[in-house]
Structure formats: C-alpha cells, structure tokens
C-alpha cells in the first residue's frame, strides 16, 4: 500500500469574481521512502496541492474535495484535533521562504522544541536537549549556542536548516518540501539538497518535493508529476521523463532549461520558450488545458479533454497526440 494516496484532489477558492479551480482533479501516490517531485510553472497549483495535503488551506474561501489517504486514513475526514496530531508529527512541511517562515520572536530552540513538546510530550528541558541534537544533525555549528538565538541572528541557509530540523524532529513518515531551495544562493541550494538527501536516507522519510527547478528534480527525485493549470499532465520515473517527455508541456519545460556548455549566442542553441500564459483557472476549460499554448493543438484538443493514458509502462500523460512510443508524431 502506498504511504500517501491523493485521489482526485480538487481545491477550489471562492473569489468575488468566480471560483478559482487552483487544483482540479489531481491524483498521485507516494510510497514509503520515495521522493516524488511535483513540477510546473508558477500558478499551476503545485503549492496549493502541497498545502491541501496538510489541510493548511484556509476554509473558507478554500474548499478541498476528493480524498487524501495517508496510511489508509482519509485526512479530509479527520477532526481538527486529529489533524493537528498528524501535522509536524507524521507529515511535516518545509517552506520556500526561510527568512519569513520562522517566528522572529521565539528562539530557534523553542521553535524546534515546540513540535517535540506537542507530539512527544517532552518537557522544556528535554525538548531543548533534543533541539541541540537536531541542530547538530542538520549541520549547524555551535548548536548549544545557536539554540538560544533568534532567527534574525542566522543566515538564510542556516534558517532553512532550522526549518528542516523542525520538520524532522518527530521523525515524520512524509516530508513535504515546498520550493525548499528557491530563495537560497546556488551554493547553499546544493548544500540543502545534499542535506535533505542525506537525512532522507537516515530518517527514511518519503519526500514530496514541490519545485519549478528541473535541475533540482534531476538531482533528488525518483518519480515526477508534471502539473499544469491545476491538473496533472504527465507522470513518470525521473529517467524516462527527462529522456522521452510525452506531453508537449513537459517538452516545453525541458526545452526552456539552459544546458551547461552550450553558448547562449548561437542561433541554433537559443532557449526554447513556451509562448503565452497559464489560462485563467476561473473558467471551466472543456478541452486540454494546454491547448491554447500548444504548438500541436487541433480542434479535438480544444473540444475534448484528453484522459491520462499510459504511454509506456509507468509513464502516463494527458495528450491526444502523445504516441505510445517515442515523442509526438507531428
């Protein structure tokens, strides 16, 4: 059985000018110990998907439907109290902005200790000892001193390490990382990714990694879900996805990635871009959500939404024209 099964997740927001279908029927599953990446450009619903899993979407105006089964239990049916027992304990989350995600008026130790006190019933002293241990684990020098410091006394990379320490303090089975490296310098990014990979092996947690950075995906993920305009358009293991992307959107994403060693000035090595913008999520789109930007789109694409089909073993895509083998026919 999968550790986490997201089944037809729909997260909608009521706004003054219509319903925003931020996530519209997304399904995927995560096995124990696995790293799944969810990729897509800004506004495709990947962060909302992540927040929906922990029910961190404010309701109202948000509304989460479908099923999110964690170890067989549907999280959407749990009481607030039961849900609090899961947050930070069995499923924890790290966020994009380490500068603002830590509480500025509480010490680092207090913030790490809070989860331990909440979920493991430690007292203040034990929690602080464990916090020092966690800071050591995430590679912060002088942990005994740092534990009494406030977030503003730490650098961005250090703060993200603290966030990771908070997230891993209770040995969660699942870690959701929402753009954990986006706000960091490239060198720090590499360190944080390395740390996450290392800790994953040690703790054995499964990871759902939300990112728009395909470089990061290639680095750490085992399987990839590609999202576009609130829907899943492709899913595959990381190797096949990078080698033979089936969906035109995935092809576009990969094409827009600069490659090391290629000159940016040569005519033929110009970066491919995807023209246009993500469509408004406030209208129901009858056909393929990508049709308006797709170089291959036809009348069929505009009229009929393509179903997710298995194009190769373990490789699904939602496109009328993606062939069973190889790339697009066109």
């Amino acid at each position: 059985m999968a550790l986490l099964e997201v089944d037809n997740l729909q997260t909608h927001f009521r706004t003054p000018d219509g319903v925003n279908r931020a996530v519209d029927g997304v399904s995927f599953s995560v096995n124990a110990g696995e790293t799944l990446a969810i990729v897509g450009e800004s506004g495709c619903g990947k962060s909302v998907t992540a927040m929906s899993i922990l029910r961190l979407i404010p309701e109202p105006p948000g509304k989460i439907a479908g099923a999110i089964r964690f170890e067989g239990r549907n999280l959407l049916e749990l009481s607030d109290r039961e849900m609090r027992g899961i947050r930070g304990n069995e499923i924890s989350m790290i966020f994009q902005e380490p500068m603002t995600s830590l509480n500025p008026v509480l010490t680092v130790g207090r913030q790490i200790g809070e989860t331990l006190r909440l979920h493991q019933g430690l007292n203040a002293k034990e929690a602080e000892e464990k916090a020092v241990e966690m800071l050591t684990l995430v590679g912060i020098p002088e942990p005994a001193r740092r534990v009494r410091e406030y977030p503003h006394q730490l650098s961005g990379g250090m703060r993200q390490r603290v966030m990771i320490a908070i997230a891993l303090a209770c040995n969660p089975k699942l870690l959701i990382a929402d753009e954990p490296t986006t706000a960091l310098d490239v060198t720090i990014q590499a360190q944080i990714l390395e740390l996450m990979r290392d800790l994953k092996h040690r703790v054995g947690a499964a990871i759902v990694l939300i990112t728009h950075d395909l470089g990061v995906v290639a680095e750490v993920a085992e399987r990839v879900v590609v999202m576009y305009a609130g829907r899943k358009v492709e899913e595959a293991a990381v190797g096949p996805l990078f080698r033979t992307p089936r969906h035109p959107y995935t092809q576009g994403l990969l094409g827009s990635m600069p490659k090391l060693g290629s000159s940016l000035h040569g005519e033929e090595t110009r970066l491919a871009e995807i023209p246009g913008l993500v469509p408004s999520l406030k209208q129901k789109i009858p056909g393929c959500v990508f049709a308006s930007r797709c170089p291959h789109s036809t009348e069929l694409c505009i009229q009929v939404a393509p179903a997710l089909e298995e194009k190769a073993p373990g490789h699904v895509a939602a496109c009328h024209y993606a062939m069973k083998e190889g790339a697009l026919a066109a």
């Binding site: 922990l54 961190l56 609090r84 027992g85 899961i86 947050r87 930070g88 304990n89 924890s92 989350m93 966020f95 902005e97 603002t100 995600s101 830590l102 509480n103 500025p104 008026v105 509480l106 809070e114 989860t115 909440l118 979920h119 406030y150 503003h152 966030m163 908070i166």
Partner: protein, 313 residues
Amino acid sequence: MFAYIVRRVLATIPVMAIVALFVFSLLYIAPGDPAAVIAGDQATPQDVERIRESLGLDRPFLVRFGEWLFRILQGDMGVSIFTNLPVTTMIQQRIEPTLSLMVLTLCLAVSIAVPMGVVAAWKQGTWIDRAVMGFAVLGFSVPVFVVGYVLAYVFALELDWLPVQGYTAFSNGFFPWLENLILPAIALGGVYIALIARITRATMLEVLQQDYIRTARAKGAGQRSILFLHALKNAAVPIVTVIGIGVALLIGGAVVTESVFAIPGLGRLTVDAILRRDYPVIQGVILLFSFVYVLVNLAIDLLYTLFDPRIRY
C-alpha cells in the same frame, strides 16, 4: 542595555523641565490676579499688596521660577493658598484612590481588550468581529460621565449590587475596595478598551497573514497557541505602545470619573484647586501627572526588548 536606560532616564529631564516651566507660567498666563482672588471681595488694596508680596508675585519671573524649581527638587511643592497645608501632604492624602482607580482600570482594560481584539482578528468578518468593532465605536463615542451615570443607575440604584459612590481604602480589605471601584473602572475603561481592542485586532490581522503562522499550523500547534503565543507576541509592540499612550486618557478621564462617583482622589483635588485658583496645588498635581506619564512611557520603551528580540538598545 544599562547605558540605554541611563540615557533614557536622563532624556526625561529636559521633558520634565519644559513641563515645569509651562506649569509655572500658568500663574502668568491665566487671567485675573491670584492675590486679589485670595484676598476676597472685602479686601483693601493694602491686603492685596501684602498677599502679593508674601507670594513673591512682585519679583521677576525667572528668579521666582528658579526658586520654585529648587524647592520642587527638594520635594517641597509649596503650601496651598486655600487650606494652608503643604501641597505634598494634600497629594499624599488623595493619591491612593486615584492610583487605585488607574491601576484597576489598566488591568481590567488590558485583560478585556487584548483577548477581544485577538478573537475579533481570528474571527474576522463574522458577527463576533462586528460586535467587537461595534463596541469599540461605542466606547469611543460615549463620554465617561454618561457611562458612569448609567452604570451607577443600573447596578447601584436599580439592582443595588454595588455602592453608588465613594471610596474604601485598600487597607479595609480587597473586596470593599473593589466594590467601590469596579463601576468607576468600567466607566473609565470604555475608551481605553476600545482603543486597545482596535489596535490589537488590526495588528493581529497583519501578523496572522505571516508565513511563520503557517509554519506554526504545519507543526500541529493548536489555535490558542497560534493566537496567543505565535501571533500575539509578534503583535505586542504596537499594542503595548497604545497602552502607554492611553495612560493620558486615563489621567484625563480620572478627573471626570472621580467627580461622577464622588471619589476623593487627585482628580477631585485638581478640579477644586482650579475652581479656587489654588495655584500651588494645580502646579503640584500637573507636575505629578506629567511625571507619571513620562515614567510609564519610559517603562514601555524598555518593555519592547522583552517582546521583540530584534529591538536592541
């Protein structure tokens, strides 16, 4: 930190000096001749002249200011023209009721207004929020004496739960003391509660949008801990600031409240002194109130560091 405290305390000296100068000038700014007033209607010009000399009114302004200031610094505020008692003695006799009223109002207001503002922010847009905001508007717009008389009428006259007026010293027991003071404190606290609740709500609304609140939720923290630990501590600085500024409201309101409830405090003393043009008393009381206000705000500046570790002096 210690250097900062010393610096701040020293900085209050010029403030107090300006207040002292202003207070002393009152004698000159106010219309009418104090000597003539004290002498009364039947006095001869010689009597008036004698009183003027005894008060030192015939000497230059700066000389008198210097002498007066020198005496104040030694704790001598002069003698009341009316009762012939030292001003310090008169203040000592009257300070307890006023201090009691202000402290009780402060505690009452903070313990009611802060949770009110927090809950209003949490339940933003619901009827609870609207009720709190409606109450705040009411608190701002209804004057202290109206609230005072209504409270006295309902709870003292009609229901007969509490005494109508007067004051019982703290040394006679906590409950008799509280019984006499609770209505005045509620009447006086109205505006203050409204002010604190509004600021609390506004600041909390902003804080609750912050990323670290989402982090706290993701950790599994309960609603109470999110509101009162994670959010309120971040909202504390503006809230504490208005609590300090609001002490001025309390001082002004205390004068009216003491009249309504016949509390023999400094407010009554001030009103009586003004009506009788008892200048030494007026000066003493104003100086005292200014000093308290400056002191409270100094304390609040120092409190900031307790709530926000990013503030360092």
